[in-house]
Structures are given as structure tokens and as C-alpha cells.
Amino acid sequence: MEQQLEKVLNEIVTQQDTVGALLANRQGLCLGAKGNINPNVSGIGMAISEQVAKLEPNSSVPATICLYSGSKRCVIQKDGEITGIIYKQATTGSTAASN
């Protein structure tokens, strides 16, 4: 049953600069995690996506939230029942390119 989720997570963590990724359900429980990410983050990630959903409750397309701290980024997106959380860390090469 989780094969599909595993496949998606594997695909996400192979993207450039990605450190880890997890998927959470509506209750904030971790459905799956890959890479260097603490599964306990699913709760706070879910809470953040729920909070942002209050900003524009009439929006049909879910927002993508990105938290920046130095070269690190935490990307959170809610899509229906599932919330995805991705940790990214820019390598020296890509930070120079983005600047």
C-alpha cells in the first residue's frame, strides 16, 4: 500500500539539494520519511500548513510555504489530505548560481 508513497519520496530525495522529505496525514502523523529528516516534524509541518490555509481560505490551489535559514530551506505544501515537507540545503555551487 505504501509503495506509491515510497516511490514519490525516493523521487523527491534524489532532487538537487534535497536533504530529506516526509509526508504527513491530516492528523499530523508521519506516513513516510526519506533522507535526513526527523519523522516528528510531521506534526509541526502539518500545523504550519493548517495555519497558512487560514490566510486565504477561499483559495482552491494550496500554497507552498518556504522557510529560509541561511543556506537551508524547509518547503511545506498541503495537498488535500496529505502534507509534504522537504528539507533542502543549498550546496556552495548552487548558492553562487542563485546569487
Binding site: 495555519q51 500554497a63 507552498t64 518556504c66 529560509y68
Partner: protein, 128 residues
């Protein structure tokens, strides 16, 4: 009768909050939008401690919230919280925030017929 600050290009609204959440300045789509201010303060409280191992507590210096046609950027500086709502399409910027930006100059030119300086009659916004 205040003129909207222009913080970024394609801006359609802005909010400047004190660290306790009080609205100091606002304009455009976010003018007097205390509801959004409260939602964002709630978000900031949540982002204070995500994962100590990945991001140290309270180290998050910028947050973006991306929608299909617009986005919000949230920055913290000098105990102030700056929130800018910007449009992704280049021509939307002026349409929603222009209501209060021209009236000041109309009043000024009516009161003083010698005000012929073209700069004073333009509706361009002040840089933050």
C-alpha cells in the same frame, strides 16, 4: 491619506508589524488587514521551533508563501515584521493598490495651482 510604500516591484500590499503583532503600517490589499496579521503571527510562532537539528530555533529569517498568482514574503528585521504581498503577473501591481495613492496629489494640486512640478503629480510610490 497616506501613500502606499513600494517595497518590492509588483507589490500589491504590505504590512509592517511590531514583534507583538501590532500593525504599525499597512497598505494595498493588506490595508488594515488585522486578520492576516494574526494568521501570520500564528505562523511565526509555529516556525520558531521546527527541527533543532536542521534549523536552530528562531533562526528562520525569511518565509515565503506562494500561491498561483501571488505570493507573500515575510521578513524579520529590527524587531519589526515586514510582510509584502506581490503579484506574479507584471501588470497587476498597480490595479489593486492605486485607490489611495493618487488622491493625495489631486488634493495638493487643487489647493495650489502653482504646483506644476510633474514629480509631485505622479502617482509613483515611495521607496521604503
Amino acid at each position: 491619506m497616506d501613500k502606499d510604500k513600494l517595497i518590492v516591484p509588483n507589490q500589491i500590499g504590505y504590512l509592517i508589524l511590531k514583534d507583538d503583532g501590532a500593525v504599525l503600517e499597512s497598505g494595498g490589499d493588506l490595508k488594515n488587514d488585522e486578520r492576516s496579521a494574526n494568521v501570520i503571527m500564528g505562523l511565526l510562532n509555529l516556525t520558531e521551533s521546527i527541527d533543532e537539528n536542521f534549523m536552530p530555533n528562531s533562526s528562520c529569517e525569511r518565509i515565503t508563501i506562494d500561491y498561483e498568482h501571488h505570493s507573500y514574503s515575510i521578513c524579520m528585521s529590527n524587531r519589526r515584521i515586514y510582510i509584502v504581498k506581490s503579484s506574479k503577473s507584471p501588470h497587476n501591481g498597480a490595479t489593486t493598490s492605486s485607490s489611495s495613492s493618487t488622491s493625495v496629489y489631486n488634493d495638493a494640486t487643487e489647493g495650489n495651482s502653482n504646483a506644476t512640478n510633474p514629480a509631485s503629480t505622479s502617482s509613483s510610490t515611495v521607496l521604503a
